[in-house]
Amino acid sequence: MAANNHLILVVDDEPNMCNILRRILEKEGYQVLTASDGETALRIIKAREPEVILLDLMMPGIDGREVCWRVREFSPATRIIYFTAKTELTSPLKAKELHDGADAFIAKPASSKRIISMVDNMLNNRRQ
């Protein structure tokens, strides 16, 4: 468990979700930023260049998928994890989503353990 200053961005339009994810990850020693919509998220990503993004898909305005594509345009190395309750995004589509740009997928609801291990995993296999 690498409790260092890795910067994680949590994007979710649900404030409670943002809050709990931030607290769980901070408790693990990560530096956590939150955004409640796509536009804010893109601004933060450009400004702070987080290493891992935990990205909800269904959001008002710019949705998660579009955020992912835009990030890939200027920062291909950023790790993006879809974290969503969106029903279509089940395992068969995972490959497609990854191809689209995401690196991993976590279905809501998920345990804190699964979230932390996924974030760790992403950081350990960071693209060079």
Binding site: I20, L21, T87, S91, P92, A95, P109
Partner: protein
């Protein structure tokens, strides 16, 4: 009258009466011996004849009478002699009206008079002979009376014959009528006085007189015996037809002619009428536009009329006397042999159509009406009248071809087409209709539409609809759907489009029924509807799951976070409950999403037996405990499909649990698992012998949250999850009840292509509703009773 000449000689006779015949005796004395001998002879013969002789003078005084006369009058001679004869004989005071003597005396002519007279009830022939005195003057009469009483019948007969004869009888002498009987007078209209002494030719029509004279002369001279006819003129000027014969006779000692005259006018008129009638009949036949043929009993041709000659081309001369087979018969014509023909001829009137051949080889159709003509029960001849129907036949043929064509059209029609007349009888049912209902072509014709085809429960209602339609109360066309019974008693749902059929006068003569079998369509539509319902249920549950998953995720994470912080142990326990319940909710949501997802999970080529065998292994112990026997009947070799092994395991597990659950109530039972391949499909059947699924539930077992378990025992998502997974694998799943009890769940999944092809199997073209079929043999199929 030769007798008159011998009058003088009769005086010899009176010598037997000396007082009265003194003068006469003198005459006799003057006779020669020869004459005397003749006289004696005559006298003897008179005696033999038992005649009565008396002599009367011109003043009617009886001068002499013989013994027989005295006896006859029952008086003595003295009493009689000197009496007036009318007094002595008739008992009258003066000469009677018809007294022949009086007649004789009042005429200058000297003649004898003959008479029949009745005296004292006896008939006498009386003859008065004048007796001249020496100066030749008649001064007295001798009277000869002969009793003819015994001869009367013969006389009567003679009289009767002459009087009552229906034939006119006359005698002509010296070309004058000298005798005519009553019938002749009747026939000619003349009286006796008018005819007697006249020329017989006066009654003959002037034009015929020469002919009559010739005939009569020929007959009289024995040169002819033929009776002849002529026209006679009656007194009233009428013309009558007479048939006559004449024969020469001796009448009153001289040659005379006896004529037999018969009025044959009536007969003649009948004859003329008959002849005219025959001529009329034969001219009818001759001029008839219809060919007429008359045959004799031996089949020979007796007569053909000109119309027949014209039609056949054979002349009367060619045909006369020809026996069957006739020249117009074709090889196909019946009857073929003469014998058959003869039998047919005697059999009674017939009416038939036949194809014949003309002399020039041309064929023609005739309609023949034939009848044997009998007289007194005896077969006389056979008459047949023909009508040339060649044109009509051609039209009929054209009509028949047209009808056949129409029928062909009807038969290729993809819908049932039937006509029903106002008596509810089926008059037509096309091929498609027969197919739908399971009847042979034509089998339904004349059957009652309602009793044969309409199920009893709706029959009365349908009849009333039909009646209204016929009565024009429903408008020209009505559309409705109703079941019809097939021959096997099964019901088919038919969509009807009916219209009334009217004749040219606008009268309703029946109903044209066009019907489409919509049984399968309706079944499919129902399944589609059901399938759509399930799909929308899936979408809804997915939506719900998504909305619930976010807060659920928060609850899970917050409870985890809180539990990991420094909180009292009781609070930790409570947080654990919150966490567990949230996890349970998560599980439900996951199942719901599986049902609603309807998308394939990550698939790979796998052997369907692997997940199945894993599940069987997992449940073996539990099934043993529950007294459940599982038997398998597996197709050989692997069943390769493209699928998600864990999801398919979930399906088998759910189905197995479902079967175990069904058998629990009966404390065990059997589960039979069968696999097979069918076309490009793998089929797995899991059957139990439990209570089966109530028919009302068959439609609902795949709905999410549908359960027959007590609340809290199950989520009711097991089968709906199976449905979601299998449809996500492009397969189908269905539930049905076994005929022997219990339920069977069947899964069909597309077989994976061999490695070489590499591709997944082509999706079988299936209707929308097919991916979930709900059937129940126990519950009956669509439209069941």
């Amino acid at each position: 009258m030769r007798e008159m000449k011998s009058n003088g000689k009769t005086k010899k006779h009176v010598t037997r009466e000396p007082e009265a015949l003194r003068q006469g005796a003198g005459v006799v004395e003057r006779l020669t011996e020869e004459q005397r001998w003749a006289f004696e002879k005559w006298h003897d013969s008179l005696n033999t004849l038992e005649n009565v002789m008396l002599i009367i003078d011109k003043d009617y005084n009886i001068e002499s009478i013989d013994e027989r006369g005295s006896k006859l009058l029952n008086k003595s001679k003295d009493e009689i002699i000197g009496q007036k004869c009318y007094q002595a004989i008739h008992g009258e005071d003066k000469p009677v009206q018809c007294c022949p003597l009086k007649q004789a005396l009042t005429t200058d002519k000297v003649q004898s008079v003959e008479r029949y007279e009745e005296l004292s009830g006896r008939l006498f022939y009386m003859r008065y002979f004048p007796i001249p005195d020496n100066h030749g003057e008649v001064t007295r009469y001798s009277v000869l009376m002969r009793d003819m009483t015994e001869n009367k019948p013969i006389e009567d007969l003679l009289k009767t014959v002459s009087i009552n004869s229906p034939v006119g009888i006359y005698i002509v002498q010296d070309r004058k009528f000298c005798y005519v009987n009553y019938q002749f007078l009747e026939d000619t209209g003349y009286s006796e006085d008018e005819l007697l002494g006249t020329d017989p030719l006066q009654i003959v029509m002037p034009e015929d007189r020469d002919m009559v004279r010739d005939h009569a002369i020929k007959m009289l001279k024995g040169r002819s015996s033929t009776q002849y006819e002529y026209r006679a003129i009656t007194k009233d000027g009428d013309t009558r037809w007479a048939l006559e014969t004449v024969v020469p006779i001796m009448y009153k000692g001289r040659q005379a002619t006896l004529g037999n005259y018969m009025d044959i006018t009536d007969h003649k008129q009948m004859e003329i009428a008959l002849r005219e009638s025959e001529e009329f009949n034969s001219s009818l036949l001759k001029n008839s536009p219809y060919p007429v043929l008359v045959l004799n009993a031996d089949t020979s041709i007796k007569y053909v009329n000109p119309a027949l000659e014209k039609l056949t081309g054979f002349s009367r001369a060619e045909l006369a006397g020809i026996k069957a087979p006739y020249p117009w018969l074709t090889p196909e014509s019946l009857p073929k042999t003469r014998r058959q023909f003869k039998i047919a001829m005697q059999r009674g009137p017939k009416w038939f159509a036949e194809l014949f051949q003309k002399k020039n080889g041309e064929y023609f159709w005739v309609e023949i009406r034939s009848t044997p003509v009998t007289y007194d029960g005896k077969f006389m001849y056979y008459m047949s009248s023909w009508v040339d129907i060649t044109d009509r036949k051609q039209i009929e043929d054209a009509l028949r071809r047209e009808k056949e064509r129409a029928e062909r059209y009807l038969n290729v029609a993809g819908v049932m087409l039937a006509t029903v007349n106002v008596d509810e009888e089926i008059t037509l049912m096309n091929k498609k209709g027969c197919e739908i209902l399971g009847y042979e072509a034509g089998e339904l014709t004349s059957s009652n539409w309602f009793t044969t085809l309409v199920p009893e429960r709706i029959r009365a209602e349908m009849k009333s609809v039909f009646r209204k339609l016929i009565a024009g109360e429903n408008g020209p066309v009505i559309y409705y759907e109703n079941p019809l019974l097939t021959r096997d008693g099964e019901e088919r749902l038919i969509a009807f489009n009916n219209s009334v059929v009217k004749d040219t006068d606008g009268r309703v003569i029946g109903v044209l029924i066009s019907g489409e079998d919509v049984t399968e369509l309706r079944k499919t539509q129902e399944q589609l509807q059901h399938s759509r319902l399930l799909a929308s249920l899936g979408e809804m549950t997915a939506g719900i799951a998504h909305e619930v998953n976010n807060p659920l995720g928060c609850i899970l994470l917050y409870s985890e976070l809180l539990a990991s912080s420094d909180v009292p142990s009781q609070m930790k326990k409570d947080l654990k409950v919150i966490h567990e319940e949230a996890k349970r909710a998560t599980k439900i949501m996951t199942d719901l999403l599986t049902y609603g997802r309807r998308t394939k999970s990550q698939t790979r080529r796998l052997n369907l037996y692997n997940p199945l065998k894993k599940v069987l292994e997992m449940r073996r112990y539990e099934q043993k405990v529950q007294n459940i026997t599982v038997s398998t009947n597996l197709a050989a070799g692997p069943l390769h499909v493209n699928g998600d092994s864990s999801q398919l395991m979930q399906v088998f597990m759910n189905l197995m649990l479902n079967a175990e659950e069904a058998l629990r109530a009966s404390n065990g039972g059997n589960i039979i698992i069968t696999t097979e391949t069918h076309d490009e499909w793998a089929r797995v059947r899991i059957a139990d012998d439990g209570p089966g699924i109530p028919p009302k539930n068959l439609n609902q077992v795949f709905y999410p949250f549908f359960t027959t378990k007590e609340i809290g025992e199950g989520t009711g998502l097991g089968l709906s999850t199976c449905y979601g997974i299998i449809t996500g694998h492009d397969g189908l799943i269905r539930a049905e009840n076994n005929e022997m009890g219990g339920a069977t769940f069947t899964i069909e999944l597309p077989l994976a292509r061999t490695q070489k092809n590499g591709n997944s199997p082509k999706k079988r073209k299936r209707r929308v509703g097919d991916n979930m079929t709900v059937t129940s043999k126990a519950g009956g199929s669509y439209g069941s009773k």
